[in-house]
């Protein structure tokens, strides 16, 4: 499918965007990775309101914007704002976040040139993210195993070939996917697991990853932002956080029956993980963890804003 944003017509862009701008300025829209428009119990999302639909196909047809890109932009905003119930307001919720994050709500739409083909923005953004996480100064670099790093670089080289118009044989991709799964299985680092599963999941031609990317990136970004909080923790809290992650990993990878139920509680063999996942521990440390989150907020907003700036640069160059 070819994309021509706003049908190449500035008047169409203005007609669609201005009502959204008014509602977003009033914080009457809730950024969401799903297209929400007049859906039961859900406030409208920015993209849902833009095209007045919750259907991906209709969204793309009306706006000329890939739904994958809209999902990604809403995901980045959602990662940086806190939404809470506000029953006394007309919309029933309130949004709180840094201006630099909230501005992006319409900034990405303003950046779109009517007629631009935005079909490669998400693949290019995916390439940027993979390149970023493989850099030696990436925050989680110390938690990425050599095997996984090697796999990541191989994916990057296949993607670069693809974006340059060359193809990679299906067998070469299969070999790489197997290598990624082996690297994930060997990875015992508490912080490395979600990086490993992210790299494993994107080991496909980059254009084919576009549709899944926002969902895959979500877990990775969550992990990355959570890691930034450790700079504001005590040693004991950092160790507890690692036990929490190991517990989550054990739950995610535990053998399940056909209905999806876990046969044996994997936390039985992980008493420290069991302790930090307990409601007692969570309640007892809640205030302190909120203070940690608040202290890390500035750095998290910087990371999110940098990612937003990358999206804007890609959109403007399309």
């Amino acid at each position: 499918m070819s994309f021509h944003a706003f049908d190449g017509n500035p008047a169409v862009k203005s007609q669609m965007l201005e009502p959204v701008r008014a509602r977003w300025s009033a914080r009457a829209l809730a950024p969401d990775v799903d297209l929400n428009w007049k859906s039961d119990g859900q406030p409208d999302s920015i993209s849902g309101a833009l095209a007045e639909t919750q259907d991906r196909g209709e969204f793309e047809q009306r706006t000329g914007i890939p739904a994958d890109l809209a999902q990604l932009c809403e995901q980045l905003i959602a990662a940086g704002v806190r939404k809470s119930d506000a029953p006394n307001t007309t919309v029933g919720f309130s949004l709180e976040g840094a201006d630099a994050v909230l501005t992006f709500g319409t900034e990405w739409l303003d950046a779109i040139r009517p007629g631009a083909d935005l079909s490669l923005i998400v693949p290019q953004f995916a390439r940027h993210c993979l390149d970023l996480l493989l850099k030696p100064d990436f925050e989680l670099a110390g938690h990425i195993s050599p095997d996984l790093r090697r796999t990541g670089f191989q994916i990057l080289s296949f993607w670069d070939r693809e974006l340059a118009g060359e193809s990679t044989a299906r067998g070469d991709w299969r070999d790489l996917q197997r290598a990624a799964m082996v690297a994930t299985a060997k990875d015992n680092d508490a912080w490395g697991y979600r990086v490993a599963t992210f790299i494993e999941a994107i080991a496909w031609p980059v254009r084919s990853v576009s549709r899944e990317f926002a969902g895959l990136f979500d877990s990775f970004l969550f992990n990355w932002l959570m890691y930034l909080e450790t700079a504001f923790m005590t040693d004991e809290e950092r160790i507890d956080r690692e036990h929490l992650l190991l517990g989550w990993k054990a739950m995610a990878t535990a053998p399940r029956d056909e209905v999806g139920d876990i046969d044996i509680d994997p936390l039985e063999s992980l008493p420290e993980s069991s302790r930090v996942i307990s409601s007692d521990h969570i309640m007892r440390t809640m205030d302190r963890m909120m203070a940690v989150r608040e202290a890390a907020r500035g750095r998290k907003d910087e990371v999110i804003r940098d990612l937003m700036n990358t999206v804007l640069t890609l959109i403007r160059s399309a």
Binding site: D34, R174, Q177, R178, A180, M181, T197, E200, A201, A203, W204, P205, R207, S208, V209, S210, R211, E212, G215, R256, E258, V259, G260
Partner: protein, 107 residues
Amino acid sequence: MTADIMAVSDATFGVEIEQSKQPVLIDFWAPWCGPCMSLLPTIEGLASVYGDDLKVVKVNVDENPLLTEKFGVQGIPNLTLVKDGKAVTLRERSRTRLVGEIDGLLG
């Protein structure tokens, strides 16, 4: 690079699944099921991977109680692979892992 997934109903099950010459991957889903919607891009990606070697279909469990009962679906999302009349429930959820699981079953 995604593929449209054919919807199969209680009425079309015979033609689209029972009489299919290819193995069939069935995605049991419902529109209200968040995890099902999250899994949809992965299913579409899978359809592109296998092309004509695997038929990928979806079944709305709310609208097709007979099929849902026939395959013993107790929770969704549920991915079931039907090959040579035998049905196997898939356990993996990422495209990379699902391909490994499906390849193992297709032989």
